[in-house]
């Protein structure tokens, strides 16, 4: 086999299939809204549920649990077409996070109980990892779970506080890292991985409003929350194994290449409309240069991701190299957001509260300008969450370079 980065006719046919399916099935309503902020819970799940029926909601999973069996190139095409159509991707908390943990570490009963809801898009998951004192240093978490027996059944009584819990306000279930052995020798030991029904008494979800004005993240307070021991994944006190697995897993799409391509196209469109010295802004050589540099850097990221995917297909597990994809991917996303804001000029400043309740009556300036600033502000999170970019560089330094 010779190195060949072009698409085969089969792959092109697959692209056609994917493109038609999206065109024919993507809900019309979702096309009309600008940002996720304006969507209700049902709207956000609608596409996931359609994909679930098609069998395409969890492409990266093993086939036995509902995966598609696509090769890396097919997944790449899928991501690209999804981005091109600007679909709302299935929420990652089930599909990319807890799902793989469950099918890797869960018991047959747990798999049977939890996986179908993720595949079908009927269960909304959230992630209970970060705590006010445990961000980058996740292993220092304090939320504790004490084991008790009641009526012959084992439970954990969970107390503590989680934070930055994305979209917990809609969640049916959450996966939580909790401390089950406060006396463990190392902080990573003595942590367990629990699935918790978010309707359990004692759970309080409080919004955190972020810079763009969005309610996307939450504090989650756990006050004597009673969790059946059967909801623990893997061994007690070994939850760090699941946590590490989860962090390293599912790098497909982490770089956000396909969505960034769409973002750059959007910049070009905006900059062809906006005027600068009575010429289209895109004719400003320095603006054009920024676009070109983004395209160059994105191509470098894209082919690095493709190399990583090819390595995975060849049996190399997703390794710490993928930290590169996260760092460069988020840097590019942030630069795109910044450039959109630069492009829209004065109309980046008005604060548009959205069309919903409490929103402005109508928008100020061109449509494309309305969310430029909030998106940029909110986008700063991507280099902080999921292991800050500083943490990612530390991982590469240690795991790849052995420094």
């Amino acid at each position: 086999m010779k190195m060949d980065l072009s698409f085969t006719p089969e792959e092109e046919a697959f692209r056609e299939e994917v493109r038609s399916f999206i065109a024919d099935n993507y809900p019309a309503k979702l096309k009309e809204v600008g940002g996720r902020e304006d969507l209700g819970k049902d709207d956000m799940l609608a596409w996931h549920q359609i994909l679930g029926k098609k069998g395409w909601s969890v492409p990266s999973w093993p086939k036995e649990y509902g995966g598609t069996g696509w090769n890396p190139t097919q997944k790449y095409i899928w991501n690209e077409e999804s981005a091109r159509a600007e679909t709302i991707p299935p929420l990652p908390f089930g599909v990319s996070m807890v799902g793989p943990v469950i099918y890797t570490f869960g018991t047959p009963e747990q798999k049977e109980r939890f996986l179908p809801g993720i595949v079908a898009g009927t269960t909304w998951w959230c992630q209970g990892y970060s705590e006010p004192g445990a961000g980058s240093d996740l292993a220092s978490l304090k939320t504790k779970a004490e084991r008790v027996t009641e009526d012959g059944k084992d439970y954990y009584i969970v107390n503590g506080q989680k934070t930055w819990t994305t979209l917990a306000q809609h969640a049916d279930w959450g996966f939580f890292l909790v401390r089950t052995d406060p006396n463990a020798a190392k902080p990573q030991e003595g942590i367990s991985f629990l699935l918790i029904d978010m309707k359990t008494p004692g759970i309080t979800v409080r919004p955190i409003i972020t810079l763009g004005g969005e309610h996307e993240v939450n504090e989650v307070w756990l006050d004597n929350v009673k969790v059946p021991a059967e909801n623990r994944i893997y061994e007690e006190n070994k939850g760090w194994t699941c946590a590490k697995f989860l962090l390293a897993h599912e790098r497909s799409g982490i770089a956000g290449v396909a969505r960034s391509k769409v973002g750059i196209d959007r910049i070009k469109k905006i900059a062809s409309t906006e005027l600068d010295e009575d010429q289209p802004l895109i004719e400003n050589p320095f603006f054009k240069r920024k676009v070109a540099e983004l395209e160059v850097d994105l191509a470098a990221l894209e082919f690095t991701e493709l190399r990583t995917l090819a390595g995975e297909a060849a049996g190399k597990g997703p390794g710490p190299e993928s930290s590169l994809l996260k760092v460069k991917g988020t840097e590019i996303q942030q630069r795109i957001q910044e450039l959109v804001l630069e492009a829209v000029g004065h109309y980046g400043a008005p604060y548009f509260r959205g069309y919903g309740e409490g929103g402005n009556e109508y928008a100020i300036g061109p449509d494309y300008a309305q969310r430029a600033a909030p998106t940029y502000f909110n986008g700063r999170k991507t280099s902080i969450y999921g292991g800050s970019n500083e943490i990612q560089r530390g991982i590469i330094a240690k795991m790849v370079l052995g420094l």
Binding site: G135, S140, L275, D278, L341, Y347, A349, P350, S383
Partner: protein, 370 residues
């Protein structure tokens, strides 16, 4: 060569700092910014009456304290440091700037007394950063003028008693010749406003002129000859923004240094991590250089190349400082509850006000490199 402030200047700064510390902490600022008005008449009154700072930058002839742009710089630095939303820049630096240029003691008096607040309506939807791009028209009629057109994102218009408006009395859309300047009451007939908040905590309006008839007295200076004066006052405003940026950057640095000293991860304050230390050093160096550039620009006024240099350097610097201040605050950096994010937002918008970093670099290049 001398970098010292006069005693009066030091007094202005100290008094204002004390006042803002007492009456304008972050909580109070948020309350004001989120109030229905979006600004505080009480604070403005205190500026005028308790502190008397509204007159600091005017000559004694005009009823001021005998100062000038250095006084504006001093005040604007504190405006930045405390995220003040009241319209000092619009009213005193810009409105006062025009009053000075056209020798209008009556306007100066109104400003100093606090009863006159001014918004500067220059930008237009298609004009980006070119003040000569003026599509709003002013046609002579019955000895006065009739204005028609649309001004974009007029900062502080909702709180203004008066608008200073650029309108075209002749020439083509982007000609310098033909730009005229009018001072009109904000509630003039035919002036429609759509008010809204800004992402940085300020307020602004879209202003629509629909056959707005204004008297001939509304004209500032000579018809069609306002372009140079507009640019000159805009340069003064940009220096004001530079000073505001210095206050923002210094405060972001202080907040970040304190936060990282408090915040522990892996058993130590995160300020102990060398990568974060060097980042904070780079942030510090940007703030120091911003201060230097502001001093340079204010002293070299009306040298427009120096202003362009300063805005370019500071625009880049405040972006760097803001983004990293948020980054080093971690999740709390993007939380609405913490002050840092609001400094970042103000800094972000400031970078583009009157023109982005790129705009001012190009301006500098044209002025000096041909």
């Amino acid at each position: 060569m001398n970098f010292d402030f006069t005693e009066t200047q030091t007094m202005v700064r100290d008094t204002l700092q004390r006042f803002l510390k007492d009456r304008y902490d972050f909580e109070s600022r948020q309350k004001i910014s989120r109030s229905e008005k979006g600004w505080s008449p009480e604070i403005w009154k205190a500026f005028a009456e308790e502190l008397g700072i509204l007159g600091a930058s005017f000559s004694e002839d005009q009823g001021g304290l005998g100062g000038g742009q250095i006084e504006n710089m001093i005040v604007m630095e504190e405006v930045g440091r405390s995220l003040v939303v009241e319209p000092y820049l619009s009213t005193v630096v810009i409105g006062g700037g025009f009053a000075r240029e056209y020798d209008r003691t009556d306007i100066v008096e109104g400003i100093i007394g606090g009863e006159m607040r001014i918004a500067f309506a220059w930008a237009e939807p298609k004009g980006r950063f070119d003040p000569d791009h003026v599509e709003v028209t002013a046609k002579e009629k019955d000895g006065g003028f009739v204005l028609n057109g649309h001004k974009a994102v007029v900062r502080d218009a909702p709180s203004a008693t008066h608008l200073v408006v650029t309108a075209r009395t002749g020439g083509g859309t982007t000609d310098a010749e033909g730009v005229s300047l009018f001072l009109i009451p904000a509630d003039s007939a035919g002036v429609q406003r759509r008010d809204y908040p800004l992402v940085d905590g300020g307020i602004a309006s879209e202003v629509y002129f629909e056959n707005a008839e204004v008297s001939h007295d509304a004209l500032l200076g000579e018809a069609g000859k306002a372009s140079a004066t507009v640019r000159k006052v805009m340069d003064e405003a940009v220096v004001g923004l530079c000073a505001e940026a210095v206050g923002l950057m210094q405060q972001m640095n202080e907040l970040t240094q304190s936060y990282t000293k408090e915040r522990k991860q892996f058993g130590v304050p995160i300020s102990k991590f060398q990568v974060l230390q060097h980042r904070m050093v780079d942030m510090f160096m940007e703030a120091e250089q911003a201060l230097s550039m502001t001093y340079m620009a204010v002293n070299k006024l009306p040298d427009t190349a120096s202003v362009a240099m300063a805005k370019a350097k500071i625009g880049k610097g405040i972006t760097f400082v803001g983004q990293n201040a948020v980054q080093l605050h971690g999740g709390n950096g993007i939380s609405d509850e913490y002050a840092i994010g609001h400094y970042f937002k103000r800094g972000t918008i400031l970078e583009g006000q009157f023109g982005t970093t790129d705009h001012y670099l190009r301006r500098y290049e044209r002025l000096t490199l041909g």
